[in-house]
Amino acid sequence: MKTPSRARLILALCAAVTAFAAQGDAAFDYRLQPVKIADDTWALIGSTEDITRGNGGNIVNTAFVVTRDGVVVIDSGPSLRYGEQMRAAIARVTGQPVIRVFNTHHHPDHFLGNQAYRGVPIAALPATRAGEHSDGGAFADNMYRMAGDWASGTEAQVADEDVRPGRWSAGGHEFELIALEGHTAGDLAILDRSTGTLFAGDLVFLDRAPTTPHASVPRWLATLDALARLGAKRTLPGHGPVHEGLAGIDMTRDWLRWLDQTLAQAAGSGMDMAEVMRMPLPARFERMPLARSEFERSVTHLYAAYEQRAMNSAAQPVLQQK
């Protein structure tokens, strides 16, 4: 009796493992649904969560514009799988080939899908390409750490040409390629003048707390003023819903100004970092997705500079080393 029951057990185990593996493959489906946001223009709207093994890093908005000459892609997503599934989603909308990919900036959720676009010219600002080169390897490792097997096979592929800022037309669409900075050292905003659509990358967030790992708050604020003057009809933020008007720019500016004032006041009153991280959020931000965790992250990114300014009333050295 003993032997057959053990054999049965092993068989059952094998079946379970096979079933699990099969389910695993199906589970790595981002279920990308292109949403038409303007003529010829589709967006893939990610969640406003942090990167997890549940969402596989699909926390970002990407987009594509179908022109007469081919498809223009704006950001390639967080992983090789995402890039591949984005290409499949594009193919469901149009038979046109992809002729150009733009990376708005060098953050991992925006360019780690580049591998899926081999053979297509991928363009980014020089500072973005430099960032992809220097940080890309660590970003890919970290994506794997946070998203797990969603990111398997993902490697940083650096954009292969510089964006030349200014007018760029493709298949009847007039694009304005605008070189900016503030969220990172190189932020590309793309305005499609033909539809009035602004692809803002992470210069604009809406209903999701902005992130600051490479941010300069003063430059970012100046950039937001420049974006507001463009008078775009609608804006696709890097994170959050597509919208008409200035809601995203206003919210991002409000967050950054509050962050700047809060950190300056905290440093001026002698608080230490871990204490600042516990400070209450204003009511208008309390329920915003990721407000608490992004505030904590921003304290790590930015507070040392505020603290430094506050402490610069330097101590007097009595004695230097003997």
Binding site: G270, M273, Q308, A315, P317, Q321
Partner: protein, 251 residues
């Protein structure tokens, strides 16, 4: 023979169960070793009056901010800070003397780890508090960043500081220029501040601490002291190569 070993194992397990006063609320496999190594297996109560404030996720493994907050616990003699899973566990050993028992500082984390404050009161009892910090890691085996700058040796042990007074107490914040090398980055020996004290006008210490490799490069501290009306506070100390720290912080 087998049975004899089993009996011995059982006895050891019982002994372990008796010596651990409280189960570790942070549920770390390292805790029994730390308790043996640093506290000589003395019983420890985990006490909500001792809080370790730190981010849940370390955004920068080289600079993880930590505040130890101790409220309503009198007669604290010693605050020993350890990080269970760091290759160098001990972070600092603080004697508050006349200062408040809480303090803030920054550490390097090699991987996700509990960060604990082990607190000894005047009656010899040990109490503890702590928090888990998740981290991508690598903080202890990376070279310090300042070594790349040509003038780091000129700035060594320079102190920046500022005092905030509220009438009764004063907060002292310090930043000391030092690479705080752990010795774990290839070819770079351990080089770190070992001792620090804040002393009054007559040279009597108001607080003292021993510091270790896991403190961040160019370490930043916050201390809370009673305001005894001094013109300035003096900060003294030395690193493990005998370089002196000596600075006055004006209010």
């Amino acid at each position: 023979m087998k049975r004899w070993f089993a009996a011995l194992g059982l006895a050891w397990l019982c002994a372990a169960a008796v010596s651990a006063a409280d189960a570790d609320p942070l549920n770390s496999v390292r805790w029994p070793d730390l308790q043996r190594e640093y506290l000589g297996n003395a019983p420890v109560s985990f006490d909500p009056r001792i809080e370790v404030l730190a981010p849940k996720v370390a955004e920068d493994s080289m600079n993880v901010p930590v505040t130890v907050r101790i409220k309503g616990l009198p007669d604290v003699k010693r605050v020993l800070v350890v990080a269970d899973f760091n290759p160098i566990v001990k972070v600092l050993d603080f004697q508050p003397l006349i200062a408040q028992p809480g303090l803030s500082f920054r550490i390097k984390l090699q991987q996700a780890s509990p960060v604990r404050a082990l607190v000894q009161t005047g009656d010899g009892r040990w109490l503890a508090g702590g928090a888990w910090v998740d981290a991508a890691g690598g903080g202890c085996t990376a070279p310090s960043t300042g070594r790349g700058a040509p003038d780091w040796a000129q700035k060594l042990n320079q102190v920046q500081g500022r005092v905030w007074k509220d009438g009764q107490n004063q907060r002292l914040r310090l930043r000391i220029m030092h690479p705080m090398d752990t010795g774990l980055a290839p070819g770079i020996p351990a080089f770190f501040i070992e001792q620090l004290a804040v002393v009054d006008d007559k040279g009597a210490p108001m607080l003292k601490l021993e510091t270790f490799e896991p403190l961040s490069e160019n370490p930043v501290f916050s201390f809370d002291l009673p305001d005894l009306g001094q013109d300035a506070l003096r900060v003294v100390g030395r690193d493990n190569n005998g370089n002196r720290i000596d600075a006055r912080v004006l209010p």
